[in-house]
């Protein structure tokens, strides 16, 4: 760490010039005081707006609807017994896993294609392909919603034009699930592309040259050079995106609002419906807390990956 050697330099200096010793001590004491003051706002935000609400959510989830009595785990019991909530669990997992896999695959493919074209054109393509990520994800689904509209669908127009029947995009449960995933992949794939492109550029060209001399095919290069070199960044982005997608709210809210018949509800939208719209705050808190164990597991692996990467770069 930088600060270690910094402190060593500071400690070494007063040994040469004795009179500065007590001043140095005072300086060190002052330094930690200053550091504490500088981090105090951060600690306040993390403590007061993240840690405290997270604990408060656990407390809330054990109360009854009017928040007057402690009812233990009853909210969780009721949820797990309800058919609707079991669909929510299933849909959240299905949605998150499918969408993240597709985003990663599309992103990886596009990053590769972008890496292969001459460097001077890359900027322009990259600029165009990142546009979905830049538009606020509450607003672009409005455009998709209009494109999926049952009677005015411009996508169905194109599908009809090549001779296929219209698709009931948001009306039929399975198509609605597919639509939500399509929009999520459209929004998130550019992010993966950018991350993977940065990673691809950090793979030394010599490795590929050496492999080419040894007669390796492009596929072998991908499998034995690119993937191992990018392993860490791939796992970090996938895990991170899993968290974000699992907790997604805006796209589902705007596109389907959970419908048809609550079949596209995910944890976040269902928590919103139960907690805020129906006014059962404790049960809404219980719904969102179902995300917690999974997020904790993913966070553990992300942190491990990031630490490994920090060591590699050091």
């Amino acid at each position: 760490m930088a600060s270690d050697s910094n402190a060593a330099v500071l400690a070494a200096r007063p040994a040469a010039a004795r009179p500065g010793n007590s001043a140095m001590k005072r300086f060190a004491r002052r330094r930690s005081t200053i550091a504490f003051l500088m981090t105090l706002p951060l600690i306040t935000v993390i403590g007061g707006l993240v840690v405290w609400p997270a604990g408060y959510a656990m407390y809330l989830a054990t109360l009854n609807r009017r928040q007057t009595a402690f009812i233990g785990l009853e909210n969780f019991d009721i949820l797990l017994e309800s058919e609707t909530f079991r669909t929510v669990i299933w849909q959240s997992c299905f949605f998150a896993i499918t969408a993240v896999l597709l985003k990663a695959l599309v992103g990886f493919w596009l990053a590769h294609m972008l890496h292969h074209i001459p460097a001077k054109g890359q900027r322009m393509w990259r600029g165009m392909l990142l546009v979905p990520w830049v538009i606020p994800p509450a607003l672009s689904p409005l455009g998709w919603w209009w494109m999926f509209d049952p009677s005015y669908s411009s996508i169905n127009y194109l599908i009809n034009a090549i001779g296929f029947p219209s698709v009931p995009w948001l009306g039929e449960p399975w198509w609605a699930r597919v639509s939500v995933i399509i929009v999520n992949v459209w929004y998130g794939a550019p992010f993966f592309m950018i991350m993977y492109l940065a990673a691809l550029k950090s793979v030394p060209d010599q490795l590929y040259e050496a492999a080419a001399i040894d007669g390796a095919t492009g596929w072998q290069g991908l499998r034995h050079i690119t993937l191992p070199m990018m392993q860490n960044i791939i796992s970090i982005t996938v895990l991170f995106s899993l968290i974000v997608t699992f907790a997604n709210y805006d796209i589902v809210r705007v596109l389907t609002n959970g419908g048809p018949r609550d079949l596209t509800q995910v944890f976040a939208s269902y928590a919103f419906q139960v907690g805020v719209l129906s006014g059962n705050i404790p049960r809404g808190a219980a719904v969102s807390l179902f995300m917690f164990p999974l997020l904790a597991v993913i966070a553990f692996f992300v942190l491990r990956g990031v630490n490994k990467r920090t060591k590699e770069m050091a």
């Binding site: 930088a2 550091a35 993390i46 005015y152 950018i194 080419a212 919103f272």
Partner: protein
């Protein structure tokens, strides 16, 4: 940020002496280039079609939108009437005004908190600094959808529901962890010799921060500012939960909840409103793309 252009060392260029294999390599290469361009063109069409269609809808008249007979991807009589109507709508201007106040406040608060904290965490080792740095990263992984219900209670308890100041209070949970995290990375990459020189010259910590760290890490500060700006402009969960009065709504929830009413939607106006609302982040992106991308990738490649 090794994203700078680098001469491409392809096997066929580097070793012209490969003899007979060269023809096939060149053919392979041309084929790869074609695949690349075709994939990119398809991807660009898919990625740009929704915003393009929003734009097309926004310059159509209501009659043309309702007309089912023609090709929906063509505009016959372009018109600005939807934009005129939406800009003339005082409610929509109110959303814009709220969004600006909200975003500016949140960006300023975020940058002050995260630059100070990142400086302390990157340069001053103190009790618990390592734990705190890890804590910052972990908080970044806590999604807003996990926190909005307890925060709803807390903000309600403070009497700040239905006020943009309640949002100013909670938005830092979205921005501060990531901005601090990437600023730690940028500050840690500044050579120690610089602060040693400053210390010898008698600078105190505050001078060191404002005279050396902030100017040297300016690209990082710009990247973090852009991140904070785009995130607070696009935030959706908190305003949807906390704000129900139209006059206190920021753009995202305002456009989604107030411009969609009844069964007959004014699609042209809705699309015009959504595009105008999306304009500020898109403009920032268009002019500061490199910083924007640096901020995106810094989160994972720096830490």
């Amino acid at each position: 940020m090794s994203a700078a252009a680098r001469p491409s060392g392809r096997p066929s260029e580097i070793m012209p002496g490969l003899g007979r294999r060269i023809g096939s390599l060149r053919g392979e290469r041309r084929w790869a280039l074609w695949t690349a361009y075709i994939s990119l063109i398809i991807a660009a069409v898919v990625m740009l079609a929704p915003p393009l269609y929003m734009l097309l809808t926004s310059i159509k008249t209501s009659a043309e939108i309702a007309d089912l007979s023609g090709n929906p991807w063509l505009v016959r009589v372009p018109t600005w009437e939807n934009y005129a109507a939406i800009i003339g709508n005082p409610m929509f201007r109110g959303f814009f005004y709220n969004s600006i106040i909200l975003t500016v406040s949140v960006v300023v608060i975020t940058m002050v908190i995260s630059v100070l904290a990142a400086f302390a965490l990157a340069r001053m080792k103190f009790f618990g600094s390592q734990v705190l740095a890890t804590g910052v990263f972990l908080t970044y992984l806590v999604p807003d959808t996990l926190l909005f219900i307890p925060l709803y209670q807390i903000v309600g308890g403070l009497g700040l529901l239905n006020s943009i100041w309640g949002l100013v209070l909670v938005y830092p949970t979205l921005t501060v962890p990531f901005c601090t995290w990437i600023m730690i990375g940028y500050f840690a990459s500044i050579p120690k010799e610089l602060d040693e020189a400053a210390l010898i010259d008698g600078a105190n910590w505050m001078q060191m921060l404002t005279k050396i760290f902030i100017p040297v890490a300016l690209p990082g500060i710009i990247a973090a500012t852009i991140f904070a700006f785009t995130v607070s402009w696009a935030a959706f969960v908190y305003p949807t939960a906390f704000i129900t009065r139209p006059d206190e709504m920021p753009l995202t929830i305002g456009v989604v909840s107030q411009l969609i009413r009844g069964d007959t939607f004014a699609w042209g106006q809705l699309m015009a409103g959504a595009l105008l609302a999306a304009l500020p982040p898109v403009v920032v992106y268009a002019f500061l793309m490199d910083y924007y991308i640096a901020g995106l990738t810094a989160g994972a490649t720096k830490g």
